[in-house]
Chain length 455, copies 2
C-alpha cells in the first residue's frame, strides 16, 4: 500500500482541483431552477469515473435525475463492492449567512468550504480517486461497481425504481457508503444505525383572502395562530411526540446497549458551548446522545405566513405553512408514521380553518450489523490509517436507501463516513477537512483489501 | 348644492384620472426602497391642493416623511375644519395574489383596483376635489385646513412631533377624517369607536447556526417549535389573551350598549360566506361584531423561520421570527400593553433559547362622541346624499392619531368614511367603488354646510 500512498501524496493538488470543479456545479436537486446544473454534475461524475478506469460508464435515465453507473469487474470469483454516493446537494440558502459563496469552494483553516463539500460530493469523490489509485497501482483486489445518484437530498425518489429494474447489474456482496460522520478525527467511529424520516408540508387556510387585522381581528381564525396551536400540541410537557400511535413500534433499546452508548466520549458542556446554547432540550428520560440516535423526533424545518418584509403590516393572512419532519427509529414504518401524522393533524384542526397535509418524502430507519465481515473490514481499514479501532455508533441522520438496498438487493451496507458532525452539512458554511478528504482516499483501498481477503 | 353637483358630474373623468395618477405612485412608507416614491406622492398632493385653490401650501419636513399642509381661511368668525388624510400606503405584497398590478389602477366591475384606492388615497383625494368644487362654485362656507401625512401606515411616527410644534397653525373646531368604512352602501354608518394598537416583532434563537435536523434533532431546542409553543400559550381555551394584566383596564361595555350594537344589520352566514369559512373563531361570550370592536385581540401578522423554498430541506434552524400585534380598546394604554407583552413573552422563554422583543409602533383606542354638533352635521350630510341617517358604529381598526388630536389640539374628530369592509384594504386586490368615490365628493360639502350653520 506504500506505493499507492506515494501516488496519493504526489497528486493531492489535482485531486483537490477536480473536487473543486465538481463543487462549483450548483446541483441542488430540490429546486427545479438548478436542473441543468444537476445534469451537469452527473456528466462530470461519469467523465471522472471513465477517466479513473471504470468500464460501462453510463447515465441511467429515471423519471427524475439520472443514476451514474460504472464498474470494473476483474474476476468473478472475487467479491464485489457496490459503491453508493450522490452528486446532488442541499439548497444553499440562506446565502447571506455564508462567509464565502456556497458554490465557489475555498480552503480556509485547512477545510474546504462549499455546499456539498462533505455531503456528499467530497465523500463520494474520494471513492473515485481511491479507485483510480488502485487501478494505477495495479492493486484493485476485487470487483467494484459504482451507483451515484442525483436525488438523495429529495428522498431518493426514483432510486428504488432503478434498483428494482437492475438487480442483476447491481448484484454485489456489500454496499459501501461514505455519507456519514465520525465523532472526531481523534475518535474514529463507524455509523451502525440511522434514523428514518417522514417529511411533510402543511397548509392552514383561514379566511379566503388576506384581511385587515383591525377590521377582522378577534373574530376570524388567524391561520398563523392556529398553525402555532397545532404545532405546539404535537409535543407534550415531556417533549414526547403527541401523535396517537407514534411510539407504538419504537424498539426499546436494552439497558446494556444504552450503557455502552454512554461510554462514547461526549461532553454536554462542549456540546452546548459549540452550539451557543444555555441548555439542551429533548425528550424526558433520555440523554442527548440517545435523543439524537435511538429516539424518534418531530421538528419544524420551515414556517411562513403573513407579512415577513421590513417594517409592520397589520394583515390577518389567509394562509400559513410549515414543513415538518419526523426522524424515525427501527420498526417505525415511514408510510405508517406519515399516515398517523396526517390523520392526527387533520383531526386537531378547528372548524374555523381548512388544513391540507402533503407528504414530501420518507425513508426507513436502519441498523447495520457489527458482527459481519464487512464491518470488521471497515474497522480494520480505519485502524490501519487512524491508528485505532473505530467506535460503532448509532447516529441521528437518515439514509433511507440503506434499508431499501437490504430489501431489494438483499445486500447489507457499511457506512464508512469520514466527515465530522461539525461540518455544517445542510447549513451555511458547510465544509470538509482537507485532512479528512485525503484520509478517506487512503482508507478506502484498505477496506477493499481486507474485504477481499478470506477471514 | 345643485350647481356643485352638476360640476362634479361634468368632471368625473378628470377626477378619476387625477386619482389614478396618484395611485400609480408606490408610496409604501414601510419599505425604504420606496422612499423616493413616497416623496413624489407628497409633491403630487401639494400640487393638487394648490391647483384646487388652497393657500400657503407647503411640505413640512419631519424626521421622517413630510406633512403636506394647505389652507383656505375665508372669515375668522366662521368655524374651521381641519381635514386629515394620508398619502402613504401599505406594502402590496404578496404581489402574485393581485389580479392586476397594485400600482397600475384599473376599473373592474365599477371598482378602482389599486393599493391605496380606499386606504387612503381615494378617500383623502375626495376632500381635495370637494374643496375644489366649493371653491369653483363659490360655496366654501367656512375655513378649511389640510394636513396630509405620509407615515400613517407605519404608526404616524412623527405626526405628534409635528402637531405639537404647530398647534396654532392647526387650530380648528373639528378634525374631519375619511379613512374608515361603512356597513354597506345601503346601510350607511359612521365610525364612532376605533381600537388601539401595539405592534411588536419577536426573535427566538436556538443553536448559533442552522443544523442538520437528523444529526441534532431531538436534543436541541428548535426555535420554530418553541416560538409556536410561546405563541400558542398567548391564548387560553376561551380564546382570551393569556397575558397577565392584559384585561385590567378594559372598559366593560354596558348591557344597553351591547344591545344597541346587536341591532346593527349583520348576517353571520353572509360574513362566513364572504370569507369562505365554515366558522368564526373568537373570544368566548362575545358576538362577532363585539369581538371586532369592543374587545382587545392578539394576532400574529407574520411568521418565518427555517427553509421556506421549494421542496424539502432537513434543517433545524438557528432562528425564528414573528410579527405580533394587539388591538386595544379604550383605557388600555398601548405603552403599558407593549410592556406587559414584552415582560410576559420573555418570561415564558425556556432556558434553551434566547428571545428578543422589539416594539414597532402603537396607538391608543378612541371613542368619538355622537352627541356633538360635528357628529350631527356628518349624520345630516349622509342623510342628504344617501337618503337615510347613518348608524353609529364602533369598529376594529386603529387610527391612533384621533386620540393624539384630542390630547394635543383638544379637538374632536369625525370619522366620515366612505369605504366598505370588503374593499380589501391591506390585502391583495384592494379596491374602492367608483360610486363611493363620487358619493364622498358629493357628501363632504354638505358636512361643511351643516357644520358652518348655527344649531
Amino acid at each position: 500500500m506504500e506505493h499507492l500512498k506515494d501516488l496519493l501524496v504526489n497528486n493531492k493538488d489535482q485531486y483537490l482541483n477536480e473536487l473543486f470543479d465538481l463543487l462549483r456545479i450548483p446541483s441542488v436537486s430540490a429546486d427545479k431552477k438548478f436542473s441543468a446544473d444537476v445534469l451537469r454534475a452527473a456528466d462530470f461524475v461519469a467523465a471522472q469515473l471513465s477517466a479513473a478506469g471504470a468500464d460501462k460508464v453510463q447515465l441511467f435515465q429515471t423519471p427524475g435525475y439520472p443514476v451514474v453507473y460504472g464498474e470494473k469487474l476483474i474476476d468473478p470469483s472475487k467479491p464485489t463492492i457496490l459503491v453508493y454516493g450522490h452528486y446532488d446537494v442541499q439548497p444553499a440558502d440562506p446565502y447571506e449567512l455564508w462567509t464565502s459563496p456556497p458554490f465557489e469552494p475555498v480552503i480556509k483553516d485547512e477545510k474546504i468550504y462549499a455546499r456539498g463539500s462533505a455531503d456528499d460530493k467530497g465523500q463520494m469523490y474520494m471513492h473515485i480517486k481511491a479507485f483510480e489509485l488502485m487501478m494505477k497501482t495495479n492493486s484493485l483486489p476485487c470487483n467494484v461497481k459504482f451507483m451515484i445518484e442525483g436525488e438523495e437530498e429529495i428522498g431518493s425518489q426514483n432510486l428504488e425504481w432503478f434498483v428494482k429494474g437492475n438487480t442483476e447489474l447491481l448484484k454485489s456482496d456489500v454496499v459501501l457508503i461514505s455519507d456519514t460522520s465520525m465523532i472526531s478525527n481523534e475518535h474514529p467511529s463507524i455509523t451502525t444505525g440511522l434514523r428514518g424520516l417522514s417529511y411533510l408540508e402543511v397548509e392552514v387556510t383561514g379566511p379566503n383572502r388576506d384581511l385587515h387585522s383591525g377590521v377582522y381581528g378577534g373574530a376570524v381564525a388567524n391561520p398563523i395562530n392556529i398553525l402555532c396551536d397545532m404545532i405546539s400540541s404535537l409535543h407534550n410537557d415531556k417533549r414526547e411526540v403527541n401523535i396517537p400511535g407514534f411510539y407504538d413500534n419504537v424498539d426499546a433499546v436494552s439497558a446494556e446497549e444504552r450503557a455502552a452508548m454512554a461510554q462514547a466520549p461526549f461532553s454536554l458542556d462542549e456540546y452546548k458551548k459549540d452550539l451557543g446554547m444555555n441548555d439542551v432540550l429533548g425528550e424526558e428520560g433520555f440523554t442527548t446522545l440517545e435523543r439524537v440516535s435511538i429516539r424518534p423526533t418531530l421538528d419544524v424545518n420551515g414556517i411562513w405566513g403573513g407579512y415577513i418584509g421590513a417594517g409592520a403590516k397589520t394583515v390577518l393572512p389567509s394562509k400559513a405553512y410549515a414543513k415538518i419532519s419526523m426522524r424515525l427509529v427501527p420498526n417505525q414504518k415511514h408510510e405508517e408514521i406519515t399516515e398517523l401524522f396526517t390523520k392526527h393533524f387533520l383531526s386537531i384542526a378547528p372548524p374555523s380553518v381548512k388544513v391540507t397535509v402533503t407528504p414530501h418524502h420518507g425513508g426507513e430507519a436502519a441498523v447495520t450489523p457489527t458482527d459481519s465481515h464487512a464491518y470488521r473490514s471497515a474497522a480494520r481499514a480505519i485502524e490501519s490509517t487512524y491508528g485505532k479501532l473505530p467506535i460503532p455508533l448509532r447516529t441521528g441522520g437518515s439514509i433511507p436507501i440503506v434499508t431499501m438496498f437490504e430489501r431489494v438487493l438483499d445486500t447489507k451496507s457499511v457506512l464508512l463516513g469520514f466527515g465530522l458532525d461539525s461540518d455544517a452539512i445542510h447549513s451555511p458554511n458547510e465544509h470538509y477537512g482537507v485532512w479528512n478528504y485525503f484520509k478517506g482516499i487512503e482508507t478506502i483501498p484498505y477496506f477493499f483489501k481486507y474485504f477481499s481477503e478470506k477471514e
